[in-house]
Every structure is written in structure tokens, then in C-alpha cells.
Symmetry: C2
Subunit: 477 residues, 2 copies
């Protein structure tokens, strides 16, 4: 792997993560029904040990894999999830060092997050005991979700592996992102919830994802960085070419105060951050939803420049509104080339309909084979580098026009795949409010074919210029 930082930089190497083969859950709680043990046990593809000083049996867990101390485990333990009371964490850490554990998540809270002197002191002591031999996620963090090896802190996290990495302090934000990924269709390589960031912090993890061969798109929720770390951040970003999408928390005065309360982050001046993100070609967004949607768009089509869009609608009025929103966000809905218009005219049979951009299909949408041909023609047009299609869900079910719904839907699906054929983003709007249950299967098909479907034009149209901007900056390098 290319060396992307100066060797004297204070950034920790955790590339060993990609070789984790055995894990231990320290402190499985009978009272909580062995919550974290179950979650890690459920899908992990390597060896899982349970460590508890007293428990000898755990239902549905191999008796021979329960040990009173991690030191008694015969083989290696690469990773440990620590969920013991705060006062026991130091002793557990001593044992992890002795055992040669490489990485731990300290889920336990009441360290610096408590906002007390004792808490701060305990965290400092924890770090000292780790001796730079054990890397720590936390305290007060949920750690690492790594679907490729089946490592998850929740039972029902998706098991499919993707190329999107995500970093956040907040475990709650990670949970929303991971659960959302199923519905949205994105797949993660790794997600980190690093809590107080006593050892591994935002910068270490960002460095890891930038250099991680399993990660192509990086998402982060950033409240702030530790004092004195900006030099490292600049250094690791300098040569980065992966798209990094960032949601900055604490941009407002009250938001900054709240961030400080819950993770002791110093949010810093919003304008400085904005400039910083621009300088390093990071894609800044305004909500967690935008963060995930940006990832979805890039996952489907790679980074793209979509400045000139074709707009297709079934309702002419809705098409007009789409054009207004698109041009308001600095993109264009340019005329089709005259060749394209001629080709469209050959296929349009309704009088008084324009063959230009935006194109209003109206009832002609039901002549789906022509629609397919027209989409193919539009995407060939050099004036056009992307296509937005308004497709209200009820048009997919309305009798009596659609006599063979499944054949009809197949052609719709083929038409919508044409974006991939032409390597131009084709994006569908099926309003959240117009999705009858009987099109669920159709929507799942779209998801699996990597055709992005949004439920509201304002959900994604403001994101397109951000992606285009990233693309044109990266092309300049």
C-alpha cells in the first residue's frame, strides 16, 4: 500500500483489523440476556469466547468456550468487547495486554463522558495500562461493525459486505445508519463507533479507511477533533482520492454546546470547517439522510459529473417542478440534440406533446416499449449526463391499462437499467407517499439492480452538484 502519511506522524496503524480471526466478549450479562455476546456470537465467522469470572454455563453457547479470564483462553484473541463495570475495566485491560489482544472496544461508560474528574482520570489510566499495545475503541463506544467477518454489535445488522466505511463517535448515529442501509440498499465495509476516542480517534480511523483496500467510499459524522491533531488530519487528506462525505455536527451555537455535552467534542468554528472541507475536496452534507443518500448515489454509479439532466415525468406539472428544483441547484435541463428530438418524434404518438427536455410522457408511459427506446436514445445524447424520472407508484398498478403487470414491470426495470449501460446516472423518484404495498417487490428489484429510487426530489437533487464538484476536483489532480 502506498505510504500516504509522513512516517513521523502520530497516526496509529490498525491495518491488522482486516485479519481478525478470534474475539472475546468480556462481561456477558445474564441480566441483559447476554446481549453483546449474542450479538457477536450470531454471525461471527471465527472463534468467539465468553469471559466471565463466575459464569460456567450460558444457554446456547459452547461450555468449552467460556473462560474465567481471557488469560485462560488457549489460542489467540485478536479482539475483545469489554462490557464490565467501570471499576473493573483497568484489570481487564492488564489481562488484554498480557494476552496480546490487538484491539478492544470499551463499551463501558462513566469515563471522560461522565464529565467528572474521576472519569477523566480513569480514562487516562486506562490509556496508560493499554501501553500502546492494545488499541482501544471507546470507552463509551459500540466499536466495530465488520460484516465481512460477521462482527456486529447488534443481532439483526445486515450480513452483506460492501465498500462503504463509516466513522462516528455516536453509537446511536451508527445504529440509524446501519439499520437504514438495509432499506436503502447500501452495504458497509466497516463502521466505527469510537465513543470518547481515548485512544483511536477520528483521525486514526479516517487514516485507516483511506488506506483500507476494502473501502471505496468514506462517510463520517464529525463533531470535532482533539486539539493539536489538525496537522495529522491535513496530512492524511492531502493525497486522498476516495470520496469522503462528511456530516459536521455542532454547526450551530446550540448544536456545538450539545456536542460538547455528549462527547466533550470541541466543534470549532463552522466557517473554518466549511473551508477545510472545501480545501480537501470533502463532500459536506446537512443531515444523516443526505450522508447515506450520497453514498447510495456513488455506490450505484461511482462518482459522476451530472450537470446536464434529462427530466422525464408522467405528470407534466411534476416535471416542471423538477426542472425548477434542478436549475435552482445550479444544474441544467438543456435541450436535446436535434437528432434526439427527431428520434423521439418518431415514437411519440400524442398530439401537442413536446419532444424536448423535460419530456412529459403522460398516458404514453403505458406504451412502455417506446418509453424504453426513448430512454435509451436520451442517454446517448451528448448534451445529457444524467436522467431523472418521475414514477409515482400508482402508475405501476393501475388497471385496466396494464394487462400483464409482470411483463410491463419487466420492461420498466430494463428501461431503468439503461443508466448502467450508458454509464450515466439514472435516478427514479417514486414518492414516499405513493408506494402501494404491491410494488414492494418491484422496489426491491430496483434496489438489487443498483438503481437508486428516492421518495422526494429534495432528498437527492441538492446532492448531485456536490458529487459533480468532487468529481471535477479529483479529475484536476
Amino acid at each position: 500500500m502506498e505510504q500516504v502519511v509522513d512516517s513521523d506522524l502520530n497516526v496509529k496503524d490498525i491495518s491488522f483489523i482486516n485479519n481478525i480471526k478470534s474475539i472475546a466478549v468480556i462481561g456477558p450479562s445474564k441480566k441483559r440476556d447476554y446481549f453483546f455476546l449474542r450479538n457477536h456470537q450470531y454471525s461471527f465467522k471465527g472463534k468467539v469466547y465468553a469471559i466471565h469470572p463466575k459464569l460456567e454455563e450460558i444457554p446456547n453457547f459452547p461450555k468449552e468456550d467460556i473462560y474465567s479470564s481471557i488469560l485462560n483462553v488457549p489460542g489467540d484473541v485478536d479482539f475483545a468487547f469489554i462490557a464490565v463495570p467501570a471499576k473493573l475495566v483497568l484489570d481487564v485491560m492488564d489481562e488484554c495486554v498480557k494476552k496480546g489482544v490487538k484491539l478492544v472496544t470499551v463499551f463501558t461508560s462513566e469515563f471522560s463522558d461522565a464529565g467528572t474528574e474521576e472519569g477523566l482520570a480513569l480514562e487516562k489510566e486506562l490509556l496508560r495500562r493499554a501501553q500502546n499495545k492494545v488499541r482501544i475503541l471507546g470507552p463509551n463506544g459500540l466499536g466495530l461493525y465488520y460484516p465481512k467477518i460477521g462482527m456486529a454489535w447488534r443481532l439483526n445488522f445486515p450480513t452483506l459486505t460492501g465498500n462503504i466505511g463509516f466513522i462516528a463517535q455516536s453509537g446511536g448515529i451508527c445504529n440509524i445508519a446501519i439499520y437504514s442501509s438495509i432499506e436503502l440498499g447500501i452495504k458497509f465495509s466497516k463502521v466505527f463507533s469510537f465513543g470518547n476516542g481515548a485512544d483511536l480517534d477520528f483521525i486514526d480511523l479516517l487514516y485507516y479507511l483511506i488506506t483500507d483496500p476494502e473501502t471505496e467510499i468514506i462517510l463520517c459524522y464529525l463533531e470535532g477533533i482533539k486539539q493539536g491533531r489538525i496537522h495529522e488530519l491535513r496530512s492524511i487528506l492531502k493525497k486522498n482520492k476516495k470520496p469522503i462525505v462528511v456530516l459536521k455536527g455542532g454547526k450551530s451555537e446550540t448544536g456545538a454546546r450539545a456536542a460538547k455535552t455528549h462527547t466533550a467534542s470541541i466543534s470549532g468554528d463552522n466557517k473554518i470547517w466549511k473551508n477545510f472541507f472545501r480545501q480537501y475536496n470533502m463532500i459536506e452534507v446537512d443531515s444523516l439522510e443526505q450522508l447515506l443518500h450520497t453514498a447510495r448515489l456513488i455506490e450505484c454509479y461511482g462518482v459522476f459529473a451530472a450537470k446536464n439532466l434529462a427530466v422525464l415525468s408522467i405528470s407534466g406539472g411534476y416535471g416542471v417542478v423538477l426542472v425548477d428544483i434542478i436549475e435552482h441547484h445550479g444544474m441544467k435541463v438543456p435541450p436535446f440534440s436535434s437528432e434526439t428530438q427527431q428520434e423521439i418524434n418518431k415514437r411519440f404518438f400524442m398530439p401537442g406533446t413536446s419532444s424536448n427536455n423535460p419530456l412529459d410522457f403522460a398516458a404514453q408511459f403505458f406504451a412502455i416499449n417506446q418509453v424504453q427506446e426513448i430512454i435509451d436514445i436520451l442517454l446517448l445524447d451528448l448534451n445529457i449526463d444524467g436522467l431523472i424520472l418521475d414514477l409515482p407508484g400508482f402508475y405501476l398498478t393501475l388497471p385496466p391499462r396494464i394487462q400483464d403487470p409482470s411483463a410491463f414491470l419487466n420492461v420498466v426495470l430494463e428501461s431503468l437499467e439503461l443508466g448502467h449501460k450508458h454509464k450515466k446516472p439514472l435516478i427514479v423518484i417514486t414518492q414516499h407517499l405513493t408506494r402501494p404495498k404491491n410494488i414492494d417487490e418491484f422496489l426491491i428489484n430496483l434496489k438489487e439492480k443498483n438503481i437508486p429510487v428516492f421518495g422526494d426530489p429534495l432528498e437527492f437533487l441538492p446532492l448531485l452538484p456536490k458529487i459533480s464538484n468532487f468529481k471535477s476536483n479529483i479529475d484536476k489532480i
Copy 2:
């Protein structure tokens, strides 16, 4: 009813609509399986006639209600839906005049919408033949959806009656709005699709809704008005106190051109319209989704001023982002009063948690009875005039914490009803992407209790200042 316009103004009176008792569908098409007849027949509460020169039988339609001409119908016909070929429309209109029909929808297109001289001439002649005795919706329009009397141009339109009126030229936009209303939970009084607006136009219909006792909230999609009608528009708006939410189509250059193509509307200068809307205290929005969501918020809580919001989250990070978005849109997340903070502290059992705004419940959310008490306390606080709650769907199903899900959900529901008790808007965010199927019933309960749930903070937060602004302007009068 109060006289809101000068008597010499050219605005048509269609208040007779509220007394429609009998309708005729002229030109039911066997080829299209009697589409519009079926749709009007399905739920209409009065008398329905089918008019066709040749048809003597229509399956599942009373033979005695089929007539070869509307003139042969023995009783009155208040409304007729005309779907005959363009060349027959004039004769049909002559008969409607003779019969004393009050209102017709001309669904037939190829009038001015065709953009030809013949089309224009035909439309002019149609108007002349109507002799100002028959009022026309259309041509090229879908007409009137009026659920109270069961009048609908589609079979599966909702049958519940509400107090929201909607006007649009485009039938497609009306269809999206009406289908969306089911999922969103809003209910219409009347929806008008007036197509080419040869007779009844935007201004006539707006005047009707402003003076209609069955309508409290008015939505409109406006591409433009006829030349020389601005005086009438000003006059009818001058004394209006109902909230009018407007989506202007054709704000961009290309959008204006497209609007002109599909409805021959002159969009006019966007800045002039923006000022106009401001001057008449109309609520301008940017998308059809925003139009509907604004209606939902007002339907749930009336018009409100929500400038100081309490933010409650289960994920602290998500709460920080909410605060950022709220303050970015000019609202505040102010500190709670010291009394409120004291009361919260009595109920918070987690160390290191702030009792101030925004409030991060984290795992304490599962102590739902305390959550309910806290929401009640917050809404009493004079510093607070609205509450935003982040409630990811998966928190409502997660085992093993929730041992009796239905009891738990009942308390959640009661907690979320507290906005109505305190007459302050309480708005829930359950991300579109975090809605497992098994919370469907819960979401329907929320809908029925008029508790608005959004799937994305950017869907509704930008709308709150618009509603507040309307409210403070109306209070000044």
C-alpha cells in the same frame, strides 16, 4: 357568506357545487372498460346517468339510467363529465345548456392544449356555446374530486372528507396529491384539475375555495394566470384569512418554457411572484411534497408559531444535527426554564446526561413512563412552543428491552398525543429508512391521532418558519 370581492369583478360564482345531486357521464367508452363511468359510479351518493348515443347496456350499470342524449334524462343533471371525441364536444355542450346542466368537466383534449389554430378556435367556440350558462372545468382537465358527495375521477380515491382544497391545472399533479393523501393522512374537501382553464380558471377556483365553508386550508399548484386577471387575484386575496399554500411552477427559465408547452401558461417573472405571495401572506413552497406536508402540519395543529423548539432524541448525535438544521432555518433551541430542568433531573437516572435542550434520552427512552412525564413537563415550559422527537423505528421493536411491546407502544402513543393536550406542535421523525414492517400499525395509529410523522428532518423543518410567518402576519390583522 361575507362578500369578499367587489360585485363588478369578473369572478364566477360556482357555490352551487356544494349542492350537486345528480351527474351524467357523457361518452362512456366500452373500449376503456367504461373507465370514467365506473369511477364516477363507484362512490357517488346521488344519481348517476350514462349518456351514449348507441349503447343500450353496460355491465353492472342500471339499464334504466342509460340515455342516448342528456336531453332524455327525466330529472335534473347538475354535473356532466364529458369524454367524447373533440369534434362532438360542441353538440354535447349545446345539449347541456338546453338541459340546464350547471357544471361540466371536459376531459377531451386537442383544444388550446394542442397548440394549433384549430384547437384554439374550437376552445373559443366551446366557450361561446356554453353561453355563460354552463360552467366548464377543462378542456383537457380531470375536473372535480369531491369526496363528501363521493365524486371522484378515479376508483380508488379516498372516500373520507376533510377541509383541504387543492387547485391545479395538471391532472397528474392532482393524482399524485390525492393518492399521497391516504398515506400522509390528510383529507380533501375538493380538488380541481382545470386543464386549459377555458372558462373556470385559477382565480375563479381560488375565489370559490376562499369562500367555501367546507374548506379551511387551500393548496395550489400555479403555473400562471391569464393576462389581465391580476386585479381579480389581488381583490380576492385582500380579505382572505385562510392559509393558502402555493407551489409555483415555472420558476426557472426551462421550467417556464415547459409550463408554457404543456398548459400554455405564462409563468411570469419569478421575483414578482415571490413578492406577490409575500404581500398576500401566501405560504410558498418548493415541491409538491412540501405542499402536502405543510397541509399535514396545519391540519394536525392549526396554524402555529413554532420558533422555539425542544429537541428530544434517542441518539445524541442525531439530536445535535437536528439542532443544527433548526437553527440554520432561523428557529431556536432555547434552554429550558430552571424549573423544567429541575423536574427533568428528578426523572433522569443516567449519569453525565444533560437535562437541558436538546435532550438526549439514549437508553433511558425505554423507561417510557418517565419519558411521558418529561414530554408533558417540556410542553408546559413557556420557553418552548413546539417539540421535535427523533424516534427511529427499530427502537420500537428491539428485544429484549421491551417486554410488553403493546403496552410500551401505548405509552409512546399517549406521550406523542401530548402536543394536542398542550396545543403545541409535537412532530415525530421516524426515518423512512428505519421503518420495519411490524411498526406499520403503530404508524397508522399516529396518523389517526393526527400526530405528524416525517421520515427526514429536511422534509418538514424548513416548513415550520413558513407556517409561523403566516401565523404572525395573520395575527397582525
